[in-house]
Symmetry: C2
Subunit: 188 residues, 2 copies
């Protein structure tokens, strides 16, 4: 941020009175421009024994596989946003969506909120955002071609939960030094 | 938003190519300025049989009671942010924080993420943000002086959960027409 979005004058970065963090401040308006983490909402879509994944056709990580997810929009709930992203990226319609995980990724200023949801029919398709969309059984998950650590984390948790039949809501922080937890598929 | 925060030129509001929502767009950079919901993180602090509430000394809803909560900052996790806000607003230190609720409030473009946490000692104080800080038993909660619907929702859920001894993670959307669910204190 270099200019005030309200008046167009140059902003300074300084700690405002009564605050304890540097902010972008406009001395003309005057206005303080706060910047905050963004929310990514997504779905873990299941059909029978399989999970739906999308091959990204956009950067970053084009060509790698991901769960359908994207930025939450103003005016929508996290649940509605997750279902919308699933539709946009895979054309799949899901039902019975249930809150499943929150992943904090502070070093990239993002918070992921994931829902588990069920596909009633195996209808899906590639889209402008996904060069391929496929159902994968646990044995076939392309672990080395997953787009982001959060996807591997989510899938590993899900397969572990499925073995126990208990799907508690997850909370975890994913740091730069993240390593994939013991992969469920190695212990199947 | 009237001006581009990158170059200071005037922005337009239009649907970018390949998008389906109007965005603030700068034709000079060129740059698209996305706007997304913000995250409020907070704590439901417990000490023995009581809950810690803060009387707001800032607008909006100055003079009304709330759970300690505030905007998540860049670079911190939702858990760390919740604990920080609790400290800033009440001087209380909490431990054993556990994810407890996500509340979507789409009409004000906010998502609340709350943790349950325990105060080991009844140490707290008014602060620059809170004109008063007090422990309340369920019977003494000032229901009519609560600052926001989300606070009444959270407290009602907690007291209902406490009766069952089971604290599942909550997810709920709070709309403009929100009404307080059957208040636990009426049925105690």
């Amino acid at each position: 941020m270099k200019f005030c979005s309200n008046c167009g004058k140059a902003v300074l970065k300084e700690v405002p009175p009564g605050d304890n963090r540097p902010r972008y401040v406009c001395k003309f308006c005057p206005m303080i421009h706060y910047q905050n983490p963004r929310i990514i909402v997504g779905v873990l879509p299941t059909y029978d024994n399989s999970i739906l994944l999308c091959e990204r056709d956009i950067q970053p990580r084009k060509g790698f596989w991901t769960l359908p997810a994207g930025f939450l929009e103003n005016g929508e709930s996290t649940l509605d946003g997750a279902i919308r992203e699933c539709k946009e990226e895979s054309l799949a319609t899901v039902s019975d969506a249930t809150l499943y995980a929150i992943y904090d990724i502070p070093h990239i200023e993002q918070v992921y909120i994931f829902y588990r949801a069920r596909m009633e029919k195996p209808y899906f398709s590639k889209t402008t955002e996904s060069s391929d969309v496929q159902l994968f059984t646990e044995e076939d998950i392309p672990w080395e071609q997953l787009a982001f650590p959060v996807v591997a984390e989510m899938l590993t948790s899900f397969f572990n939960d499925r073995k126990c039949g208990q799907y508690d809501v997850k909370y975890k922080q994913i740091n730069k030094c993240w390593k994939r937890p013991k992969a469920a598929h190695n212990h199947a």
